[in-house]
Amino acid sequence: MALELRQITKRFGRIKALDDVSITIENGALVCFLGPSGCGKTTLLRVIAGLERPDSGDMRLAGRNLFSVPARKRNFGVVFQSYSLFPNMTIAANVAYGLECRQWRKKDIVQRVEEMLEMVHLKDQAEKFPHQLSGGQQQRIALARALAPKPEMLLLDEPLSALDAKVREELRGEIRLLQQHLGITTIMVTHDQEEALTMADIIVVMQNGRVMQSGPPMILYQQPENRFVAEFLGRMNVVPAGLGVPVPIGTHPTGGQPRILGIRPEDIRLVSDQKKNGHLAGVIDQVTRLGNLTRVTVRVQANNTGCHPDEGWCNGETLRIVAEMQGVHEDLRVGMPGFIDIPFQSVRVLEWQ
C-alpha cells in the first residue's frame, strides 16, 4: 500500500519547484514535509493530491500508477490551510459533500455525517454555517469532511498554521490520535519544526525543491547529514573543521572534501579554565537567562581554520558559539573569558549544504 514517488520534477516558469524528488511513504505512517516557505513542500503535496501535474516522474500507490488519475478520482482526503469549508453550506452539508459525490444512499450519508461529527466532538454544530464556528472548530470540520468518504490517504496542507498557539497544540494531539486510531496514511506539510518533531513518524526535510534528508525525527535531530537539516531542526553551532574541536573516531574529515562540524548548544559546557578541557577560548558576548536555562554566546577567534570565504569564515574572523546550560549560573557575565568544552561524542560531521 506504500506510496512511491520517483524522480518527480515540477517547474513553474523558470523556478524548479520540485527537483528530482523520490520518496516512499509507508502505509499507516504520519509523514511531515518540513521546510522553509518556498521549499516545494506544498507543491509536492499538491502533486500527490492530483491538483498539480508534475513535468516528469513516476507516482504509484500500491503499485497502481497514479499519474493519470485526476484529483477527484484519487480518493485522497485533503485539508487545506484555509480550511476551505464551503460557506454556502451547513456543517452537515459540508461533511456530506464527498459522500454525495460518491452517490451514497441518503440513510448512509446521514449516519456517516453523524459519526464523523461525533468523532471531532462537534455533533451539536451540524446545522450551523462555517463562519459561525471558531478557527479550530472549522479545522476539525475540514478534517471530518476529508475523512468522511473513507479516503485511502489523508493530506494536510499546513493545517494548523492559521490557529493560535493553544488551539494548535490541542489539535496537534487530536490529529495524531485520530490518525493512529484510524491507521490512515497521512502526509502533513508544515514549516513548524516543533509540529514535525512532535507528530511525525517520518520527517522529510526539503529545501529548494529537493529532499535534504528523511527519517524518524530523532534520527534527523541526532544524526543530521548536512548543515541545512542540522540548522533547521533545533539549534546547531556550526564550526569549520580544523579549529581544534575534537572529532569522533572514524569520522575524521576526509582530505579534499570540505566538511564542517556541528555541535548542539546543550552539548557544550563552559569551563572556567583552559586547562580543564577548554577546547576553544573566547570572550562571553551575551548571557540570556530563560528561567532555569542559561544561554551563553561566546566569541571565538577562528584561527588556522583554512579559508572558506563562501561560508564567511576566514582566518582571524570571529565565530559565535552558543551554549545552553541548565541552571541560573549567576557568575557568568558579559566580557568574561569563556572556555568551551566540547565532548567529542556529541560532534557531528556535516556536509556542506
Binding site: 492530483g50 516528469s56 499519474f67 488519475v69 485522497f76 476551505s84 469532511r145
Partner: protein, 554 residues
C-alpha cells in the same frame, strides 16, 4: 524520460472545457468582431471598388477638421471640469464629516437612472430660448452650442467619475495620516503629500473613462448642440440624415481611434495600480472640523441642487399642460398619444430584461471560463471580452446594421427584432459586465474548487453547488447593470430601431427633436421610474436574503 499520454479520464472534462470556451468565444466573434469587420470594410467601399476614397473625401476637409476640433474641445473641457468637480465631491462624501452622506451620494448618482440625454433636456427647459430663465427674467440668451454640450456632458458623466473617486477615497491607511499630523504637516500639505498621490490612479482612470463617454455621446449634443456639430452627431447625420453609410463609417472609424487609446490607457493604469491597503493598515478615522465640514457641505449641496434641478425640471415639465405657455398641472402627456403610444417603453423593458438575462449568462460564463480554466485561449478570450469597451456605441450599432441587415446571411432574421437590440446592448456593455463578474470570481478562493475536486466532485457539480451559489448575488448585480444601461442607452441602439422596435430613450430624442418637450419629458420620467423600481426590487431581494454589501449602482 518517460512520456505521458493525454489521460483518458480527463477526456470528459476537457471536452466540457472546450465546449464552454466555444460557447463564449463564438458569440463574441459574431456580435463584436463580425460587425466591426463590416464597418471597416464599408469604410473602404467606393463606387470604384475598395479604396481610400471615402477617407480622402472626409479627412482633408475643413468641415472634418472643425468636427474633430469641436469634439476634442467639448470632451477635454468636460473631462477637466468633471474630474475636478467629482473629485472634490467624492472627497466631501468620503473624507469629511458631512451630514446626510447617503442621500447626497444617491443624488449624485441620479443621472445614471435617466436616459443619457436627460441633462440636455433639462438644460433646454431651464435655459433654452423658451426656458424657465428666459421666460421669467424676460432675457433672451441661448444655451445651445459649446457650453450647452459641456454643461450637459458634465452632468451626464459626473456619476461615473464620482463612483471611481468614491471607491478610491473610501479606504486609506490611517497610520499615514497620523504620521503626517505628528510630523507637523498642515491639512493642505497632508492632502498634497498623502491623499492626492494615493488617488493618482483614480484620477487618470476617471479621466480616460470620462473622455470616452463624452466623445462618444451623441444624445446631449443632438439636443443642446444647436449648430455646434461634433463627430458623434456627424455619424448620425451622415447615416440617418443623408443615408451616407460610407462617410458615416469613416467618421465612426475616426471616433474609434481615440476611444481605443483611452480604454487602453485606462487598462494600463489599472494594471500598474498597487494595493495601498495592507493587512496592517488601520481604517481612516474622520475627525470633525467645523470650517472644513461647512465648506464641503455647502459645495456638496450645491452640486446636488444642480443635478436635482436639471432632472427635476424634466419631471416638472412632464406634468405641465403645455410648457412653457400653459404651466398648469396636467397628466395628458402620460396618455402618450403619439405614434406607437407607450409601446417604446415596453420595448425598452423587454430589451432590458433580455439583455439582463443574456448579459448575465454571457459575462458570467466568460469570467468562469477565463478564471477557472488554465487554457491557451485564456489571453485572447479575455481580450475579446473587453474589446467592446473600446468601441463607441454608435460604431457598434452601425456595424450591426451593416452586418445583419443583409437578407442573404444566416443571421439576418435577427434584424428588426428586439432580440438584436438586446444583443447589441449586451455586447456593447460586455466589458464592464465581464469585469464585475471576473472580479467577483477572483474573490472566490480557488481552494473551494480544489476542495470540491478532492472530495470527488465533477466540474459541473462544483459549478452548480459551489460557484453558482457563491456568485449569484453578483450575478443579480450584473443583471441590474445590463437592465439599467439598456433602459437608458441611446447611442448603440439608435441605428437599430425600426418603427415596431422603437425604444423609449430614442422616443425621447425624437420627441425632443420635434419640439414635443412635454411628451419627451414624460417618457424620460417613465424610464427613470422603471429603472428605480427595478433597482429597488433587486435591492430588497438582496437585503432580505442578507446580501447588503452587493453593489447595484455602477
Amino acid at each position: 524520460m518517460r512520456s505521458f499520454g493525454w489521460p483518458r479520464s480527463l477526456h470528459g472534462e476537457t471536452l466540457f472545457k472546450v465546449l464552454l470556451a466555444t460557447v463564449i468565444a463564438v458569440p463574441l466573434v459574431v456580435f463584436v468582431l463580425y460587425p466591426l469587420i463590416h464597418i471597416l470594410g464599408r469604410s473602404f467601399q467606393t463606387p470604384e471598388g475598395l479604396g481610400l476614397a471615402n477617407y480622402a473625401a472626409v479627412l482633408g476637409t475643413e468641415r472634418f477638421l472643425r468636427l474633430v476640433y469641436n469634439s476634442f474641445a467639448v470632451t477635454l473641457t468636460t473631462t477637466v471640469v468633471t474630474v475636478v468637480l467629482a473629485y472634490v465631491f467624492a472627497y466631501a462624501v468620503q473624507r469629511t464629516c458631512l451630514p446626510l452622506k447617503n442621500l447626497l451620494r444617491l443624488i449624485a448618482l441620479v443621472p445614471l437612472f435617466a436616459p443619457s440625454l436627460v441633462q440636455a433636456q433639462g438644460l433646454v427647459l431651464l435655459l433654452g430660448r423658451n426656458g424657465l430663465v428666459n421666460r421669467t427674467l424676460g432675457t433672451d440668451f441661448s444655451i445651445y452650442g459649446f457650453w450647452g454640450i459641456v454643461i450637459a456632458s458634465i452632468l451626464y458623466v459626473f456619476p461615473y467619475a464620482f463612483l471611481i473617486f468614491s471607491a478610491a477615497l473610501a479606504t486609506a491607511d490611517n497610520r499615514l495620516y497620523e504620521s503626517s499630523r505628528i510630523l507637523g504637516a498642515n491639512r493642505l500639505r497632508t492632502f498634497l503629500t498623502v491623499t492626492l498621490p494615493s488617488s493618482r490612479f483614480a484620477l487618470i482612470a476617471a479621466s480616460f473613462v470620462v473622455f470616452t463617454l463624452v466623445i462618444t455621446d451623441f444624445g446631449n449634443p443632438m439636443v443642446v448642440g444647436g449648430d455646434y456639430s461634433v463627430l458623434a452627431t456627424e455619424v448620425y447625420n451622415q447615416v440617418i440624415g443623408q443615408a451616407n453609410f460610407e462617410l458615416g463609417t469613416v467618421i465612426g472609424m475616426v471616433l474609434l481611434l481615440p476611444v481605443a487609446l483611452a480604454v487602453a490607457g485606462e487598462k494600463w493604469v489599472h494594471q500598474r495600480e498597487y494595493a495601498q491597503i495592507s493587512a496592517g493598515s488601520l481604517p481612516l478615522q474622520l475627525r470633525p472640523d467645523r470650517l472644513r465640514d461647512t465648506v464641503f457641505t455647502v459645495y456638496a449641496l450645491l452640486i446636488c441642487a444642480v443635478i436635482l434641478m436639471v432632472v427635476g425640471v424634466v419631471i416638472f415639465a412632464s406634468f405641465t399642460h403645455l410648457w412653457p405657455y400653459h404651466m398648469g398641472f396636467s397628466l395628458r402627456h402620460y396618455a402618450f398619444d403619439v405614434q406607437n403610444g407607450i409601446q417604446p417603453l415596453w420595448n425598452s423593458v423587454y430589451i432590458g430584461l433580455m439583455a439582463a438575462g443574456i448579459g448575465v449568462a454571457a459575462t458570467g460564463l466568460a469570467a468562469y471560463v477565463i478564471e477557472k480554466f488554465a487554457t491557451l485561449v485564456r489571453a485572447p478570450l479575455s481580450f475579446l471580452c473587453i474589446v467592446p469597451a473600446a468601441v463607441p456605441g454608435m460604431v457598434l450599432g452601425l456595424g450591426y446594421v451593416l452586418a445583419f441587415n443583409k437578407p442573404d446571411t444566416p443571421l439576418s432574421f435577427l434584424y428588426g427584432s428586439l432580440l438584436l437590440i438586446a444583443l447589441c446592448n449586451v455586447y456593447y456593455y460586455h466589458a464592464q459586465g465581464f469585469l464585475i463578474a471576473s472580479t467577483s470570481m477572483k474573490q472566490i478562493s480557488s481552494s473551494f474548487d480544489e476542495a470540491s475536486a478532492t472530495l470527488g466532485a465533477s466540474l459541473l457539480r462544483t459549478m452548480g453547488k459551489i460557484t453558482l451559489p457563491l456568485m449569484w448575488p453578483t450575478l443579480v448585480g450584473i443583471a441590474v447593470f445590463f437592465f439599467m444601461r439598456s433602459m437608458v442607452t441611446l447611442s448603440a441602439v439608435i441605428f437599430l430601431i425600426t418603427p415596431s422596435t422603437q425604444v423609449a430613450a430614442v422616443s425621447v430624442l425624437m420627441l425632443e427633436d420635434r419640439g414635443a418637450v412635454n411628451q419627451a419629458a414624460a417618457f424620460s420620467v417613465c424610464i427613470m421610474a422603471v429603472v428605480i423600481i427595478a433597482l429597488l426590487m433587486a435591492r430588497i431581494i438582496l437585503n432580505v436574503l442578507g446580501f447588503r454589501h452587493v453593489t447595484l449602482i455602477r
